[in-house]
Symmetry: C3
Subunit: 259 residues, 3 copies
């Protein structure tokens, strides 16, 4: 399940109940090439079919992701058809595979998290960042706007105020500011990012996996209205175990070791 | 109007223009029993019919509310029909009575504010918390998801980022973090919570009650479009008094003492 | 293009690519008179027809805007028809001209930013405030609610939690609190507000103006779905220049000096 390690790739490594995803394009601070967007989609589709209970995504080395791989842009961006294909199929293909992932996703964010990096981070459920991490989307310097679905994603996750400052004024935000707004769950010393993100992922893996899946499906709803499946979990083993464990003052056993 | 004081009850006390609501289940940090959800609904329906200008809600003793009363869960949660009834009728009955209350609601939050506590706090308009108060919804440990309407309420109030961290990673947030995001209006020394919340409630009670009711009705709109009633207040006594008082540099008299 | 300077006016001054808008009613901390709302609409319609790449809006003197000009209220507010005309045509006419402006708007906020001031600030894309600036909407003291469209605007920009505290409890927020929530992009020493806001405006003016316009149109969408125009910029000069400049490691030239 371990992809071949090469520049410009998305590496997937399964370790027990946790799927480790690594953005890798070391010469370019892990900027996303077109091929990496395709790989991102494949990796998250593989995770969705797996028994992973949590995903931990990080960049290789000192940065999370510096944006798109601009060296590829002259070969396709100036044609409207190819540009639409890029944003709607390639970029959104990768991002929507992340958004559709039923397992909780933890981001470990060091260094630069810009443009595509913010988009990828915005698909995660929990974000742990180093204190020197930086966030922005200065694409107005590149002469083009953020595509609609991507702008909608980023504005919803960052809040419209922060998104406007990033997109319209090329403002860069330090981690501390985005902890204040709630976008970052934890901001820690740079040296502790991997360890803290890993701790959160392990904690999630020990929680009830079916409840996590249902919570993610509910939070994805546009209207929060119950349907026929909403309470179908009532008689389930996970539900019974969680409540029994609480009442007997013991740690619940959601079958993590069986995996 | 004062309910009998007993464990597992919602106490209502009217003092002038302020309705004091107290969550009381002292052996369980005021965890909400099924009966307390029914009482919560009744109490807020009574307040809605009263002349109360403000509601102040608090937990008895050192905690706001530690969640649901889990000791009751084995008797009904493993049957899908009863489970739906519990969430849709009992829990949502209490919460929607709070959401439909036209008088502003101030929460005084000390100690633990978890699960059902966060849901109740999210129905309030102003939240005053002690500096050691803690907020979370670690129901993934109990093996079940948050019900859709409750998740929608909590995600809207806390923001999706904080809600995801609570629900999916069992993250607990200190009061200072939720002051930063704007969820908590004020964070004060633990010893000052009641006094500060009471000050806010008294200030609200002295403001224009009709304006408060209209503001709450407007903020409940899904689309902010005026209708035939929107400007019907033009010739009203409260409107005239507020503007006259400002122009004469005196404190407006919105009839608080007549009550 | 410079309007005659008089009390109760909106002053427009074009300097190169930046449109400077000044709220001016010096005897009343720049409170908005009915005539000023009409002027605000005219000024932003003029900007929209101009080649301005950025707007910088500020109050004259030590305050941004203290609210509405209440001395005018007895002459029209107690008649429902005139009241509707005021909010729906005059106030919303000015605010919607701001919201429809395709050039990014930077607010420089000193001193009081109350009521109408918060509404005007909420139409801006980037907000720079002085550390002693204060924000609120204590209209409940005046005996009337915020009009629906205005409440929707303010609740979306401030977040519902802050908006409820302002409207229902007359709570006043210092700049630092609204920097934490993300509403304010930067909070600086009072003496530096104009210089910092001007720096941001100049930076925006040097960025790609077409990208800014498209970004603002996208962020205004209710659903973030691409349409036929979304990728029509592919072959444009601005898009080509931005990418070429990045790849040649030079500053992009988006034609600012030609203006």
């Amino acid at each position: 399940m371990n992809r071949e390690s090469k520049p410009g790739s998305i590496i997937l490594l399964m370790e027990g109940a946790i799927a480790f995803v690594r953005l890798r394009n070391p010469a370019k601070f892990n900027a996303m090439s077109r091929d990496m967007w395709w790989q991102l989609k494949e990796v998250f589709e593989e995770i969705q079919q797996s028994r992973a209970r949590c995903v931990l995504i990080a960049g290789e080395g000192a940065h999370f992701c510096a944006g798109g791989d601009i060296s590829e842009y002259p070969s396709f961006r100036f044609d409207a058809h190819q540009l639409a294909l890029f944003h709607e199929t390639e970029v959104w293909g990768g991002l929507s595979a992340m958004l559709n992932c039923d397992a909780p996703i933890v981001a470990a964010i060091a260094g630069n998290c810009m443009g595509a990096g913010v988009e990828i981070a915005s698909c995660c459920d929990v974000r742990v960042a180093g204190e020197s991490a930086k966030f922005g989307a200065p694409i107005a310097r590149l002469g083009f706007p953020m595509a609609p679905r991507e702008a909608g994603l980023v504005a919803a996750a960052l809040g419209a105020n922060v998104a406007r400052a990033m997109l319209l004024a090329a403002e860069v935000f330090p981690a501390s500011r985005l902890q204040d707004t709630g976008y970052l769950t934890r901001v820690v010393a740079d040296a502790d990012v991997d360890a803290q993100a890993s701790d959160v992922a392990k904690r999630i893996a020990a929680l009830a996996p079916g409840a996590a899946k249902m919570n993610k499906q509910i939070l994805r709803m546009s209207k929060f209205i119950p349907d026929a499946r909403t309470y179908a979990y009532a008689d389930g083993a996970e539900h019974r175990e969680g409540i029994a464990a609480f009442l007997h003052k013991r740690t619940p056993d959601f079958g993590l070791d069986e995996k």
